[in-house]
Amino acid sequence: MSNKVSRRQFLSYTLMGVGGFMASGMLMPMVRFAIDPVLQQSGGGDFIPTSQKVDDLTEIPVRVDFTIKDRKDAWYYSDVSNTAWVYKNGDTIIALSPVCKHLGCTVNWGGDETHPDQFFCPCHAGRYMKNGDNVKGTPPTGPLDEYEVKVEGGLLYIGKTVSNTLV
């Protein structure tokens, strides 16, 4: 193998180089345009007020509905209602996301008559303990997510979801 670059090789490398440069110049903006949602910073983290009085909370989870006002979905703005299962664990307030970790259905507290003190997902009979831990042998692969919470003026505020810290 000689080190000389033949005329044919030189031409083909230059043409491929220039052609590749031009093609990437054309495709790069389009690919970046397409993958933009993947690279968008997920905004939010604002605490949303609920009508739930903190004093009324007990050790038994209650369903708390709250509404995200004017949520921005690209060019579409709308109010989106959301749910949390909230209870007191001693003095700390726990708010669990109702989104099943199996395939994203919505879980209920005591939804299964044979397990009144567990969260139950009606889609595939997934079950979770009160702290959100998934019951082994049921479909979910992880514990329920937790919401960040804060209290202001005796009312419960719900923030963004974080992975379960109790399990």
Partner: protein
Amino acid sequence: MLNKIYDWVDERLDITPIWRDIADHEVPEHVNPAHHFSAFIYCFGGLTFFVTVIQILSGMFLTMYYTPDIENAWKSVYYLQNEVAFGEIVRGMHHWGASLVIVMMFLHTLRVFFTGSYKKPRELNWVVGVLIFAVMLGLGFTGYLLPWDMKAVFATKVGIEIAASVPFIGESIKVLLAGDTTILGAQTLTRFFAIHVFFLPAALLGLLAAHFIMIRKQGISGPL
């Protein structure tokens, strides 16, 4: 690595003759700008195709955000242009490319006309070329409405009135295009979107294939 993959496929499917047939074709001296620089006029057809490819690609990407609905069309265009990375560039490619296609196609037509390349035996290819011209104008017309701004709506209003002035069938063409006898609205937009994105591009690809097969079969016309 790539060579090995190629050899593996080639050994089984014998693909070399396929691309050889496509790549190896005569480029006569009188159409080669390296010999006579004035032969660059023979590039306009290829340039038209190149811009068409850009139009198809950028259009495909634009539909990831665009919404053909009178409530959301303008908002989605505004969003993709101002809030999505490179949105201005991608929409710009499609917007300016649309005009450039017409310009290139016109120059290509002039070249074919003044070199007499449309003469026997190439009359059919001229006819197909004129059909491509019509499809391109149709793409330009239908695409113009899609941003759903004032300019788009009123331009389409005028365009549809022009279509309605056709004797006898004008009124039917108008209703067919607008989707309603009086309103230029929701149905007009969805129709124009479907025509712009599915019907005309399909027709265009078919006609382009015919155009290219014919030029390959007949060869490039002789020198002046």
